[in-house]
């Protein structure tokens, strides 16, 4: 416990981490607030439409007669669900593929590398469009869209993990572990995994922002999840298509954009700060010590 505390203490000295942490907590709080929303997220014409921000409607109302603030709380929640599901499952695939390919080598490595490379060279947005059309009913759910995105984002990170494992495999402590009679599975779990986790962690965050970005793009094309389900992407899409800009409903348009920026910047800073903390080279860099 004390260790965790110390880690946080250290991390909080980086202003980027602090800012990012505060923003994330704030957004999580907003997402949590959705539970108390007086309005149903998908119902329309519940309030007078096109009202500017006021005490009653902190972020105004949109042209569909929805309260933008409460829509936002749902949007953050839903976008985060997609992002976390995508990041979580793609990390699982990436870790398994990366470690197996790196540690086993040989034919297994070949096969996995080829599969990974193949997913990387496919024109992914188009394939995603095709798959989201094929799996229409299935992909409509938030978490399933996350899964779908997960399927396309593991390859690069698996590659990174693989090369990390390749070099770890040669490290002396792994040899010692072999000499101490540990089974392959145990070595992977105990000796390799902890070293891979920093990458997993930082790529998890990066993958989250990628997934959020992808969701926004898909929403713009009218694909992905049901457009009446509020996410940052669908909010933005509706605002743009319903001419929020020219109707002068800037609060409707700006809310998802600013939220996206805040979320991205926070995630980026979080990932940079944590990866610098975890990577001793970068850590020395931060305190300025030469190797």
């Amino acid at each position: 416990m004390g260790k965790i505390k110390a880690v946080f203490y250290d991390l909080f000295k980086d202003y980027r981490f602090t800012v990012a942490f505060v923003v994330i907590v704030l957004l999580l709080f907003l997402a949590f607030l959705s539970v108390f929303s007086p309005y149903h997220p998908q119902r329309m014409y519940q309030v007078t439409r096109g009202l500017p921000p006021s005490l009653e409607h902190p972020l105004g109302t949109n042209w569909l007669g929805q309260d933008v603030f409460w829509q936002l709380t749902f949007a953050i929640k839903n976008s985060l669900i997609i992002a976390v599901v995508a990041a979580f499952f793609s990390r699982i695939i990436a870790v398994i593929v990366g470690i197996v390919a790196g540690y086993k080598g040989g034919v297994v490595d070949r096969v996995l590398t080829t599969v990974g490379d193949t997913t990387m060279v496919l024109p992914f947005l188009i394939i995603l469009i095709i798959i989201s059309m094929i799996l229409k009913d299935w992909a409509r759910h938030l978490s399933n869209l996350g899964l779908l995105l997960a399927f396309f984002s593991w390859a690069w990170d698996a590659r990174v993990i693989r090369s990390q494992v390749l070099s770890l495999r040669e490290r002396e402590f792994v040899l010692v572990a072999v000499l101490s009679g540990m089974s392959t599975f145990k070595i992977v779990r105990k000796q390799l995994l902890p070293h891979v986790l920093p990458i997993v962690f930082t790529t998890f965050i990066n993958n989250m922002s990628w997934a959020i970005g992808m969701e926004i793009t898909l929403a713009y094309l009218g694909l992905g999840i049901d457009p009446t389900v509020p996410t940052i992407g669908t909010m933005l899409q509706t605002a743009i298509y319903r001419q929020a800009l020219f109707l002068g409903l800037w609060w409707w348009l700006l809310t998802p954009i600013i939220t996206a920026i805040l979320l991205f910047v926070a995630l980026y800073w979080l990932s940079v700060s944590i990866s610098e903390y975890l990577d001793p080279r970068a850590r020395f860099q931060r305190i300025g010590l030469k190797r």
Binding site: H40, Q42, R43, M44, Y45, W63, G65, M133, K136, D137, R140, L221, G222, L223, D226, P227, T228, Q237, T238, I240, Y241, R242, Q243, L245, F246, L247
Partner: protein, 638 residues
């Protein structure tokens, strides 16, 4: 070093200034803006830019090709006041023999192709026979009925049919698509008509192709020197614009910007776009000066359609209950600010002609129409005052220029009327069928919660999608959950019957009426019982898979009714309409509202209620556009 840097900066600045002065306008010098009409190209980009062979594939439509460069034998008159059919390349209406196996077509004289060759009976004969004999051409299927076609003289064609068909001329009549004559002198030299690109196209309309975008986003047309030798020239005189540019600026907000830049003269967009443009530009106006702005006279209706092979939508009572759960006035206000015209019948569009032909005779029946609620209870659902309620609401908010005492004006602006908002009756209908309501939510008779899945397309600006979202709200309010299956493949899914409820615009309903002719054959024909296919198989008829022996009979009757016999046609049409309404086969709510905005900066005298020379529905996509170009006036602005 320093000098070089300054030199670089200077060059960049000069370049930038050069760029900004040189090309800030869309149109190049030599194409004066004030002689050019710029219209939105809604179906851009062209699938195959540079291929103008409209006989091989549905392409190059709505960008001027079929509006300005081709003519059909007959075409619908865009002038609603006049109504009826214009004899275009044909000089007279179609002449059938007694048993509908022979069709004689009289052609107009003195019409020339743009390359100076005269249009004659040979062109028509060549077209009919070539299409019949070439697999893969459009209308190849329908032309299989042609036994023979020959020219009696230079301006008379006789078509012999294998089977009797009283509507064969409909293939040759322009509404949106038609088999239009091809220039024989060009096509007879072509080996493979299927892959012939017909570039540049030889025109028979008032304009010729000037240039087109290799990317397919714009097409520029130039007025023919010899416009007098075209159908329009003969009928209406000189079209005003020297050039017509069809262009797609991309997304909706870019079209908005373009019109604000005066680089677009007309646009049919969303309600939001309409409001935006009216608000942000002083030179714009819509069809109406005041609320409800729109021109309601589209020939298609919108609303949910049901899959009649899927429970519980195969139950008439359920369908009626869903209809009665909709508050039409609230729906109109919430979705379109009330700028819509309501209609109770699928092909019953809101227009002067349909008002006279169909609504007036139907109204007494509607007033008396009764639903059986079980237990001996009955209910008269017709609400003829709904448009007035909408009007009352509007008068409180907008400046409205409609006389509430002028029944015809109200009905032709805001619709005929609709079904009463009667959730209590809907409840009774459902409970009669074993449905239950618990905690404000409806449950199916088997105890499962009732969730309606609506299939729809992805375009959020599509009127049909906006309306269906509003309807979903009404149903949710009534206590039924609604989810959407948003698919770009909605039409195909609908054809295959893979849906519960679908938007009429997405394969929900096939046949739109002619609009200016009372014949409803093409609407009813989609409901033929032999078109009904099991779920999973594509149908050529209506995806909703409804059929009725009585409807089959009406279709059969229409087939042997002459096109000119309007009285009999209306009689049969009324019967069909009543049958559709009785069964509530789909829930039509509104005519598609024409949210058109005109920019009067360069061109003026656009159609308006006071100057009602043309419908403005799908103004820029429909071929009749060429019949109004003599009406618009240049403002003379530079």
């Amino acid at each position: 070093m320093r000098i070089r840097k300054w030199y670089l900066i200077l060059t960049v600045v000069v370049l930038l200034i050069g760029f900004s002065i040189g090309f800030s306008q869309t149109l190049p010098p030599g194409i004066p803006r004030n002689e050019t009409l710029i219209l939105p190209f809604l179906f851009a980009p062209l699938p195959v830019p540079g291929n103008w062979n409209q006989w091989a594939g549905w392409r190059a439509q709505n960008c001027g090709l079929h509006q300005f460069a081709t003519e059909a034998l007959w075409t619908l008159n865009p002038n609603v006041v006049e109504g009826g059919i214009i004899n275009a390349l044909a000089a007279e209406p179609p002449i059938y023999n007694e048993d509908f196996t022979e069709l004689t077509i009289k052609l107009r004289e003195g019409i020339y192709w743009s390359d100076g060759v005269e249009f004659t009976a040979d062109d028509v004969v060549f077209t009919l026979l070539t299409v019949r004999d070439t697999e893969g051409l459009d209308y190849h299927g329908p032309m299989q009925n042609v036994e023979d076609a020959y020219a009696v003289d230079k301006y008379t064609v006789v078509v012999k049919l294998k089977e009797p068909n009283s509507r064969f001329h409909a293939y040759l009549m322009e509404r949106w698509g038609a088999l239009r004559p091809m220039p024989k002198h060009v096509f007879e030299k072509v080996d493979d008509i299927l892959s012939f690109d017909f570039n540049p196209p030889v025109s028979i309309g008032p304009y010729v192709l000037k240039d087109y975008d290799p990317g397919g986003y714009w097409v520029l047309w130039e007025k023919r020197e010899d416009w007098q030798r075209t159908v329009t020239g003969k009928l209406f005189g000189e079209p005003k614009p020297k050039y017509i540019l069809f262009i797609n600026y991309g997304t909706a907000e870019k079209n908005t910007m373009a019109m604000l830049r005066h680089e677009l003269d007309a646009i049919q967009g969303t309600a939001e776009q309409l409001i935006t443009l009216l608000r942000m530009s002083k030179t714009t106006r819509s069809f109406r000066e005041n609320w409800p702005y729109i021109d309601p006279r589209d020939i298609s209706t919108r609303g949910p359609g049901f899959n009649h092979l899927v429970y519980p939508y195969n139950n008439k009572d359920v369908r009626w209950a869903l209809a009665l759960a909709i508050d039409i006035v609230e729906l109109a206000i919430s979705t379109y600010d009330g700028m819509v015209a309501m209609t109770p019948g699928l092909p019953l569009v809101v227009s002067k002609t349909f008002y006279e032909w169909y609504f007036k005779p139907l109204e007494p029946w509607l007033e008396e129409f009764t639903l059986d609620l079980g237990n001996g209870e009955t209910f008269k659902p017709w609400d003829s005052r709904a448009p007035w309620r909408l009007l009352e609401w509007a008068q409180k908010i907008y400046k409205v220029n409609i006389d509430p005492n002028n029944e015809e004006e109200v009905r032709l602006t805001l619709g005929y009327g609709w079904w009463k908002y009667a959730p209590d009756v809907a409840e009774k209908l459902l409970k009669k069928n074993g449905f239950t309501k618990k905690g404000g939510k409806w449950y199916l008779p088997n105890g499962e919660p009732w969730t309606i899945t609506i299939l729809r397309g992805p375009d959020p600006t599509d009127m049909a999608n906006i309306v269906i979202l509003g309807i979903a709200e009404q149903w949710k309010k009534f206590g039924i959950d609604v989810v959407f299956n948003v698919s770009a493949a909605a039409s195909t899914l609908a054809l295959n019957g893979k849906f519960e409820v679908v938007n009429t615009a997405h394969g929900g309903f096939a046949g739109e009426p002619w609009g200016l002719h009372p014949d409803l054959y093409r609407c009813f024909n989609a409901l033929r019982s032999d078109f009904v296919k099991p779920i999973g198989e594509a149908t050529l008829g209506w995806g909703g898979r409804w059929s009725h022996p009585k409807m089959d009979e009406i279709i059969k009757q229409l087939e042997v009714t002459r096109w000119e016999d309007e009285k009999r046609i209306i009689e049969l049409g009324l019967e069909g309409l009543k049958l559709e309404i009785e069964n509530m086969i789909a829930i039509p709510v509104f005519n598609c509202p024409i949210t058109i905005v005109f920019d009067q900066y360069y061109w003026t005298n656009w159609p308006s209620p006071e100057n009602d020379y043309a419908r403005s529905d799908n103004f820029t996509t429909w071929p009749q556009l060429k019949y109004i170009l003599h009406k618009i006036q240049p403002t003379g602005k530079k």
